[in-house]
Amino acid sequence: MKRFVTLSYRDPDLPPFSCAFPGRRGRVLDLPLIAWLTLIWVLLWSTLTWANVVTGVVVAVAVCLAFPLPKVDLGLRLHPWGILVLAGYLLYDMYTSGVQVTRQIFAGRPHRPAVIGVPLRCRSDLMLAATAVAVSNVPGGSVIEVRRATGTLFLHVLDADRPEALEAARRSVWRLEALTVRAFGTRDEIDRVSAPPPPTEPPGEGEARS
């Protein structure tokens, strides 16, 4: 008998927490994604009723079927304690960031900006993106460019008059990377960020290209 819906625990090929529909296209629905879209729908209506939940699920399924995402294992793991620590650091950093940028705005002297490259220790796409988002929200830099192959973030640093400022910007990126990975990363990536950060001049980048 052919099943109309195949759940992921019956079929190890499917990603976790998803179900597949048979047919030519072979649509795969990601259940956490549908739950998240439904939650947003209910919050936007701002009343929790059964009608809202049901229409939310219908809209979420329709959206997921109409605009299917590529099948990738993001490698997203949630560590509640890590998320709390990350949120705390982000709030504190955003406060200091606001103060620092304000002071630079009213400093009245020309500041010396610089663009620096910071090699990260993780290579996963999700961790790279999450770290870039976290870095953009805190002092020290806004991300200009992300090089995916080498896992490098390029930051614009507003006030780089002293070499210590550049070192501090690099250290803050590495610290944020470690915090992000401890909040969302897999075990393997957590082991990676526990290692000391790579040297300032990434060796082997020139050879890798030739």
Binding site: L43, T47, G98, T102, P113, G117, S136, S142, A160, R209
Partner: protein, 133 residues
């Protein structure tokens, strides 16, 4: 109990005010700073902080469960989307030469871009060139 509500109302109003002032500082910064990249600092960071403070103030005054969740959703999307927007602006500004390169104290990215542009000579086999997506 009434006193507590009064305190929460006042604190909420104070938070909304502080948040609005911080947003204003960010706007002044956009006018005062010289180039695109510096302005993107002023456009994103104080705005995010200010908006979060305004949201916290509104949350103190509304005090409803569903409203709090909606406010949290707004804050979450602000945190998530503003870096993306500022990154795209900064990236396109950098690549179209809107950046005063002489102003920069130093520039790691410039070398990499010029090296990458010199590279596409025809070579045997696929080269693991730097990704430029």
């Amino acid at each position: 109990m009434n006193v507590l509500l009064q305190i929460m109302d006042t604190a909420g109003a104070a938070l909304v005010f502080v948040g609005a002032v911080i947003c204003l500082l960010g706007a002044i910064g956009m006018l005062r700073l010289p180039d695109v990249l510096s302005r993107s600092h002023a456009a994103t960071k104080p705005q995010t902080l200010g908006l979060l403070l305004v949201l916290a103030g509104v949350a103190l005054r509304l005090r409803g469960g569903m409203d709090l969740a909606t406010l949290a959703l707004i804050g979450f999307f602000q945190l998530l989307t503003s870096p993306v927007a500022s990154h795209l602006v900064a990236r396109s500004a950098y690549r179209t030469g809107q950046v005063g390169h002489s102003e920069l104290l130093f520039d790691d990215l410039d070398e990499q871009l010029t090296v990458a542009e010199e590279e596409p000579e025809p070579g045997p086999g696929p080269k693991p060139g730097p990704e430029r997506d």
